[in-house]
Structure formats: C-alpha cells, structure tokens
Symmetry: C2
Subunit: 327 residues, 2 copies
C-alpha cells in the first residue's frame, strides 16, 4: 500500500504538497502538480480512510438501525440508503434489532460518535425516554412518541385513507384492518386513516374487524385473516398495514377457498416487488423509497454541519392491482 510519504518521495516534494494535490488545493505549481499526479498514478495511491477520518475527527460511517434485512421493505430501502450515502462518502453500518425492545435498546446504546457520524433509525418498540442519542439522527416513519428528532416519511393517515377509500369505492361495506398495534406509532396513524375513511363514507367502525398483529410478518397476516374468516359475518375487504401481512392474509384466504378479489378485496402497504407477482397481484400503497432514502441521508448530512430539526414528508401513491378489481 502506497502512502502519501511514498508518493512524496517519488515526486520529490513534501508529504503536504501531495496531500494538497489530492485534496484539490489550488495553489500548487503546475510543474509540481504534474509530477505529483504522475507519482500518484505510478504508485496507485489510495487514501487510507481510517487515518483521514481520525485526523478529521469523523468516522466516515452512518448507522442504519432496522428490524430485519429479510423484510423486503427494509432490504429495498437499505440498498437505496447505501447508494445515497455513497454520495456523501459515507459507509452504512447495518444494525438489526429484530423489532424487539431489547434489540433496539442495545443498538442505540452501541451507537455513538466513536462509531458513526450519524444514524437512521427505524424503531418499533422504543419509548420516549430511550431516545438519548449522541449523534445526529433521523427517524423513519412517523411515530406516536413525540421526541425532538428529525423525521422522514409519508403521511400515514392520508395514505391509509386513500387505501380504504379505494376499497369503499369498490362498494365494499365490511372492511377489516390488519396490523393494529398497541405501541407502534405508524400502526396508530394507519388505523386513524382507516377510521376516518370509514367515517366520511358513513360506514361503522367495528372493533371485531380490527385485528392486531404483534409482528408484521406473513405468518401474522395469515393468523389474523383466519380469525376474521371465523367471524359469523366475515369482511368483504381488508386493509393490511403492510404487504407481508397482506400476502399472509391472501394465503389464508386461499386455504379457506375465499376468492380474492371476488369475495375479499385486499390492499397492502409498502409495495414490495413480491406483491406484483403474487396471484392475485396485490394492490398496495407505494411510498417512494428512493425519496425516503435520499431525504434521510441528505438531512443527516446537513445535521452534521449544523444541528437542525426537520420533518420531511415524502410522496406516495396507490397502485391498484388484481386484488381489488371490481367484481
């Protein structure tokens, strides 16, 4: 590995002059600049980022704290965050919490200026007093807990309302919701959107049609759907708080020979790639993940220069597919 010293010796100048060339400092004599550039080329010099960051007092990394990479939404988002972070010369350290309180607490505890310059958090279980952060941070998604931390995400209430309105427009009357959760902020907001859409259409809000889900995995969706199908009067539509729940729900429906969308219309949330190819394909609320990733990273970049509190609302759309075609 060539260092600045090696390059300097070869070019016959001081280490600092090489450093100046590498960093694009203007006042270098054309002649020296040329010699240094040749030496850089000849040695194949690459800066040692550890050393550079040590000197500059930064780590060169940001943390991305999320439940689990095997959840498609987070996998897709992670890819986009990595791409966005690259623009600011940041590495992304991924920390999986598996959606547990202890996992999230220990992830947060391990953060800190010695490890990362900033952090993107997607917590599910944290309480208000857990947020004693030592680096600039952004929360993904809205949360019930009101903490003074920047946020990036869509308007969950509006998005849920759009989804449910769509079901109503199909003429469905008994619309269920899967994914209620006692402590999860986003769940509360989506539930609120669901409630308000029913209300504006003059449909009753029925407790029996709102099914909680402790996790948001396919298995939870299947279990919830089964309980709905066991009702004396089952729903004719269901709004699931994410696509995995919806996939699970459709699977459970298929097992009971309930036809989607004829007997049951289904809407999901997140627009996973998987949902385009399921049979039937799944109507879903599609947040613009690229915008989310870019907004989060850019916001962090700004915050590392000067502290600020910002909330960014990113766009979303409803993609209508087979699971909600008119009967």
């Amino acid at each position: 590995m060539a260092t600045l010293k090696d390059v300097a010796r070869l070019a016959g100048v001081s280490v600092k002059t090489v450093s100046n060339v590498v960093n694009g400092y203007s006042f270098v004599k054309p002649d020296n600049r040329r010699r240094v550039e040749e030496a850089l080329e000849a040695t194949g010099y690459r800066p040692n980022l550890g050393a550079r960051n040590l000197r500059r007092g930064r780590t060169g990394s940001i943390a991305l704290v999320l439940p689990e990479l095997s959840i498609p939404y987070f996998a897709e988002l992670t890819g986009l965050v990595i791409a966005a972070a690259q623009e600011h010369e940041w590495n992304v350290l991924i920390e999986q919490t598996f959606g547990t309180l202890s996992g999230e607490r220990s992830a947060l505890a391990s953060l800190g200026p010695h490890l990362v310059d900033a952090a993107i958090l997607s917590p599910e279980a944290l309480h208000v007093d857990d947020f004693q952060l030592s680096v600039p941070s952004v929360l993904l998604g809205e949360h019930a807990v009101d903490v003074p931390i920047s946020r990036v995400g869509i308007d969950n209430v509006a998005a849920a309302r759009v989804a449910v309105r769509h079901l109503i427009s199909l003429g469905r009357k008994r619309i269920a919701a899967i994914g209620a959760h006692p402590h999860r902020g986003t769940a509360a907001l989506r539930l609120e959107g669901y409630r308000s859409a029913l209300e504006e259409a003059g449909l009753p809000f029925l407790d029996e049609l709102v099914v909680p889900a402790l996790n948001y995995h396919r298995a939870d969706g299947a279990a919830a759907m089964k309980s709905l199908l066991d009702l004396r009067n089952p729903p004719d539509a269901v709004f699931c708080f994410n696509d995995l729940l919806a996939i699970g729900a459709m699977r459970a429906a298929a097992e009971r020979f309930v036809r989607v969308p004829a007997d049951l219309a289904v809407v999901g949330f997140d627009n996973n790639e998987e949902s385009v190819y399921s049979s039937p394909s799944l109507t879903s609320v599609a947040p613009d993940k690229g915008s989310i990733a870019r907004a989060a990273v850019d916001l962090l970049h700004r915050q590392t220069e000067s502290p600020a509190l910002e909330h960014v609302e990113t766009p979303f759309s409803l993609l209508v597919r087979e699971s909600t075609v008119a009967r």
Copy 2:
C-alpha cells in the same frame, strides 16, 4: 468523547496502563486495575476504532459484494453475514453490482487493503482475469471459472439432481429447466444436475425445454414460462434455478390458467421466505444460509492470519410444498 488520555488522568496512571487494562493484559496491579476500571466506567470510555485500526494496520471491515439487496436470497444472507462478522469485530460494507460486468469490475477495483481486510464475493459475470484481488477473499457459490480463491457453497450439481429426481418421482415426463445462462457458473452446474437426473431416469434431454434467463428476477421467470407454454407440447414440470424465477413462472402459468401442480409441477431454488406463502406454496432447494455465512466469515478470518485456499461445502435440503404434490 473520552479518550485513553482522559481515563489515564482520572485514574492517575499512564495512558499505556489504561490501554493494557482495556486490552486485558495480565500484569497490572490489582489496585491500579480497579482505579482504571472505575475511571473507564466514570468516563464511559469507548475505544476509537478508527485509531485502533490505524495503529493495528487493519480496517476493521470486510466487503460483501453482491448483485442486489432487493433480491431476497441476498438480503437474508446479508443479515446472517453481518451477524457472523460481528463475532470477529468486523463491520460489513455492502457493495451492489446489479449483476453487471461493469458493476462487478468497479466493485472489485474499489476494494483493497485501504478499505477492507477481506471480501466475500458473489459475482455473476466476472471473467477469470478479473480476479486480481488484493485482499483475502471468498467466493460464494461454485463457478465455472477456475480461479485460486476459496469458495463456500453447496454442491449445486447434487442439489439440482435432487430437485429433478423429485419431479421425476411424481411421474412427470416433460421436465423443463429455467435459468440456463451462458456465463454463469452456478447455472452450468444446475443444468448439469438437471441433465444427469434426466439421464439416470432414461428421459431425453430436450433443448426446447431448457430456457435461458439473463437475470434471475421474477420477470425473467414469467417470460421464460410463457415461452414454454407456447410450445406445441408444453412441459408438465419445471425446475427453476432460483425461487424468483419460479415465482414468475407460477405467475405466468396462472395467467394462462395452467394449474400448479395439477398441470405443471414447479420446483425452485434458494427457499425464500416468500415461497412459503405463495399460492401454491413452492417446493424449493434450501441451502443452509446460516452455514454459508458463518463458513465464509470464519474462512476469511483464518485467511487474514495465514493465507490458505479452502473449499467448504455446506448442506442443503429439498423442502417439498404444494407446487409439487402428487396429482
């Protein structure tokens, strides 16, 4: 941020003594050790990893070079690699190539001792002469190209054979294969397993039943399946070289009202979580991803201490689901 210096001042000892305590050096007087530990506790000292790695001449990171995080197989694997790397105090830097030659080349070029201590590679398009690696590396999966680099993966020929034998055991006679690829090593091996299983059953190997796929995404599987269904004499079973292809194939079959498994049995490869919940659920070859991740990371760890060339074969199994129940 507390440094060793701060701790040393507080404890009334030299910096090196603190360092010795932190690093578990034995010969420290009990009394000093206690004072240092109290000071560590009081200051909340965390080592500056950048500085430590600089001094130790390592980077503290390994690279994981893969096509795309949004491919479930790689998302799941990445989570496991991160967990395994943590055991060796390694961060994982993820590099996406999108399966293109240029992407893989630039990823490889950007690697190097200044960035990472080692690398896990999952290349798809690289040629032999591209492998001029400057850090210890492991290839995931088997490859046709014969390069002196360690490998971790399952026996693809055997795995494919097991999958196709299973289809044969159902009494299927016209078994297609989706996923052939001119330059992809694993594709060649799976095709070989397919061929040999047909041969041992006395079934003919028919060119028209072997469909190439340039990418291994759901869309490619759907397109391939459509072409198979357009044949004068379509297949009664299909072996797909990964689950995404199989999901796409099943989707295409559904669009043509071809019933799976009654008219068409389908087997996939990778055992994505998604495949458990599709309708019908998908029979799939399940590599032990945990073993792969652990073996790869451990192997790299050994290689950073002393160079070595090892090939590790990890276990797999065939998980039979609805897409191949007997008719």
